[in-house]
């Protein structure tokens, strides 16, 4: 039995230090527990079953409560806060519809391994199962999209549950944790005992690679001629960007990232191939296709990366480092799986290499070959004389912000272009819905990121379709004075679906036009007017000559600011490897 109590240091017979607090109700216990976890911001929308929690929040001096205008927006704000900082984001909603509105944000955080604690009010426990007003089985409903969940039935459990929830959310492979608290539990009086430690028998998240496996990896590098590093969100969540850069400089191996990994390695570095996959660079995809050694660190071989998985990196030996044992051989069989926190593994590898004290092999022929592909197939776009190419907006923004902004996106063409034409140099600066691909993600995420990083420029690059899905959060921005910026690349269409229609369905439009069909020459909806209604300035930009000035005003604006940039809907995101195809099928024009 391993129930460890550290009684050694204590003198025999001396009483345990008192951690007892005054008597308080469950809602107050919850807030006190959140304060103990260092929570400074919570995104919470009240309702009948969570009202008591809000009453307790009004008394907190440590926690800022931000009122989103929709629970989904609140969920994404919490995720944005977390994605920008690595800290646990916290959101709250009432029972029933308030809770169900959070589900998309939870699923999104689950897919992208984002640490989130989601607190929901529940109908009183004596009403559970009776079809009470605003009752849903939130515990049951969220099971497939959470890392863990709690339904609290005794107020005495709240301190332990909160402590565990934060620990679980942000250790090992991070993810969302749900805490559902019935109203009678929020009311119930108790004298809480706040635990210092978490004891979970079934949860041991620390994983460290052993040196034998790491030595084998180093041996494989020595034997390789065409190695490639394929790195992902794991580098960012484990905080291993520094270790990765050092590893690359010690080993001279070219680096490509996943969409989730963008920013974990500076894209301005000569060994960066930017990102790979369906809309990744030609040279990254080709390098992986021809690699004889693929070092897959903190990645999960997602189908948008691999295409036809049996053909992916077929010629190479694959080494996979991940903290999640279930990722090995899930999508792709690998030759050497190494279970480890990738930060530890990279740090250890760097130490082992330095200890050898000799120059490692470099791969000049391979790097040169990749260089010729870079030169022949750079990311490119067609510029117009008066019309504004959407890619140009992003490239200009990159130049004008010097790559220093935090960029968030919705989902679709603009998201891919943001990844392609903005060069990211730091982790946690490209916040995007990678796994779930949730439209409406960009704007609330930008607000959450701006709350977390008030001194950084935070810009949502969005589409006209995506932006509208959480447009109500303009009120949150205005009222809470969250000065995130927005650039809507407005093509009046669901651009990515249109692109697939053009490529695979003879341009037959299946409900992908977002404008007003009775006035095709006009622009609909009228974003500047919508923004005006919310009290935020929005400029419409129609001509290329006006773009740079407008971008400058956006960047310089002290408060929230938006641009509605009209762009042609005929643009396609390229290159493109169609779903379940291989590098050989890449479309470059």
């Amino acid at each position: 039995m391993k129930t460890t109590t550290h009684s050694k240091k204590k003198k025999a017979g001396s009483p345990a230090p008192s951690r007892r607090s005054p008597v308080m109700n469950g809602a107050e216990v919850l807030v006190a527990s959140l304060e103990r976890e260092g929570v400074d911001t919570i995104f919470a929308y009240p309702g009948g079953a969570s009202q008591l929690l809000h009453q307790a929040l009004t008394k907190s001096k440590k926690i800022r409560t931000i009122l989103p205008r929709h629970e989904q927006g609140g969920g994404f704000m919490a995720a944005g806060y977390s994605r920008a900082t690595g800290h646990v984001g916290v959101c709250m909603a009432t029972s029933g519809p308030g809770a169900t509105n959070l589900v998309t944000a939870l699923a999104d955080a689950y897919m992208d391994s984002i640490p989130l604690v989601s607190i929901t009010g529940q109908v009183p426990s004596y009403n559970i199962g009776k079809g009470a007003f605003q009752e849903t089985d939130f515990f049951g409903m969220t099971l497939p999209v959470v890392k863990h969940s709690y339904l609290v039935l005794d107020a005495k459990d709240i301190p332990r549950v909160v402590k565990e929830a934060f620990y679980i959310a942000n250790s090992g492979r991070p993810g969302p944790v749900v805490i559902d608290i019935p109203k009678d539990v929020q009311l119930s009086m108790s004298q809480p005992i706040f635990p210092d430690k978490v004891e979970l028998r079934g949860y041991k998240p620390e994983k460290k690679a052993d040196d034998v496996a790491l030595n084998e990896l180093l041996g494989l590098i020595e034997k390789a001629e065409k190695p490639v590093l394929y790195v992902g969100g794991g580098i960012i969540s484990s905080g291993a960007a520094k270790e990765l850069l050092e590893f690359v400089e010690l080993t001279n191996i070219p680096v490509t990232t996943t969409l989730m990994g963008i920013g974990c390695f500076p894209e301005t570095h000569p060994l960066s191939l930017k990102w790979l996959g369906m809309h990744g660079t030609y040279y990254a995809n080709r390098a992986v296709n021809e690699a004889d050694l693929l070092l897959a660190f903190g990645v999960r071989f997602d189908d948008r990366v691999t295409g036809k998985v049996s053909e992916f990196a077929k010629h190479g030996t694959i080494v996979h480092i991940d903290i999640d044992y279930a990722e090995f051989d899930k999508n792709k069989h690998v030759h050497l799986p190494i279970l480890s926190d990738v930060k530890y593994a990279l740090g250890r590898l760097n130490a082992m290499i330095r200890k050898e004290g000799r120059a490692r092999k470099s791969f000049p022929a391979w790097v040169k070959e990749i260089g010729t592909w870079k030169a022949a197939h750079p990311l490119k776009f067609e510029d117009y004389s008066d019309k504004i190419a959407p890619q140009l907006v992003i490239r200009k923004l990159y130049e004008m912000t010097k790559g220093e902004a935090i960029i968030t996106t919705g989902v679709g063409q603009h998201q891919m272009w943001a990844g392609q034409f903005y060069d990211f140099i730091k982790p946690r600066t490209f916040l995007t819905s990678g796994g779930l691909g949730t439209m409406g993600f960009g704007y609330p995420t930008a607000l959450g990121a701006k709350v977390a990083c008030p001194n950084k420029q935070v810009i949502d690059i969005d589409g006209d379709g995506s932006f509208l899905m959480n447009v109500q959060e303009l009120a949150t921005s205005k009222v809470e004075k969250i000065d995130a910026k927005v650039i809507i690349l407005n093509n009046q269409h669901l651009g990515m679906v249109v692109q697939w229609e053009d490529r695979f369905f003879d341009s037959n439009r299946g409900h992908t036009y977002l404008g007003d069909p009775s006035d095709r020459a006009g622009i609909y909806p009228d974003y500047p007017t919508i923004f005006k209604g919310f009290g935020i300035t929005c400029e419409r930009v129609l001509h290329k000559k006006d773009l740079e000035g407008a971008l400058q005003r956006l960047i310089d604006a002290k408060g929230a600011y938006a641009l509605d940039v009209m762009v042609p809907y005929t643009e396609h995101v390229l290159p493109m490897i169609p779903a379940n195809h291989t590098f050989k099928d890449i479309i470059t024009d």
Binding site: G140, L143, P144, L200, Y325, A326, F328
Partner: protein, 157 residues
Amino acid sequence: MRHTITVLVENRFGVLTRIAGLFSGRGFNIETLNVGPTHRPDTSRMTIVVVGDDRVLDQVTRQLNKLVDVIEVTDFHEGEYVDRELVLLKIKVDAKARAEVMQICDIFRAKIVDVQPKNLTIELTGNESKISKFIVLMENFGILDLTRTGKVAIARR
């Protein structure tokens, strides 16, 4: 292939749903499932028998391991474990058949736990092959009802 998986879990509500969800979400039908507390009241053991593609089942056991409430998962290989199942059968008998059924019960070390004018209730414990043989024999008399606990298994070592 058929797998016998035992899962040691925290004895808490919701654990069963989490585990069942990992199977159902992938379209697997659980053949038998047995749950009960161990010698520690805070710990339960489940024995799950499931048929499915080996690779996918391997994924499922890894996902099981990730659940916070799961303490240990073992996917048993042949010979590594002993297993038993208990079956209760209600068999239609007349005066003539009764003696024959009782004779077969003797051979199988099955117990007759209830006697009615027109039926017998029999308790049988054993491994899979013994139970299936017994059921085949009883079909000749007429099985009125049958219930089984599902396999329970424990490692030999």
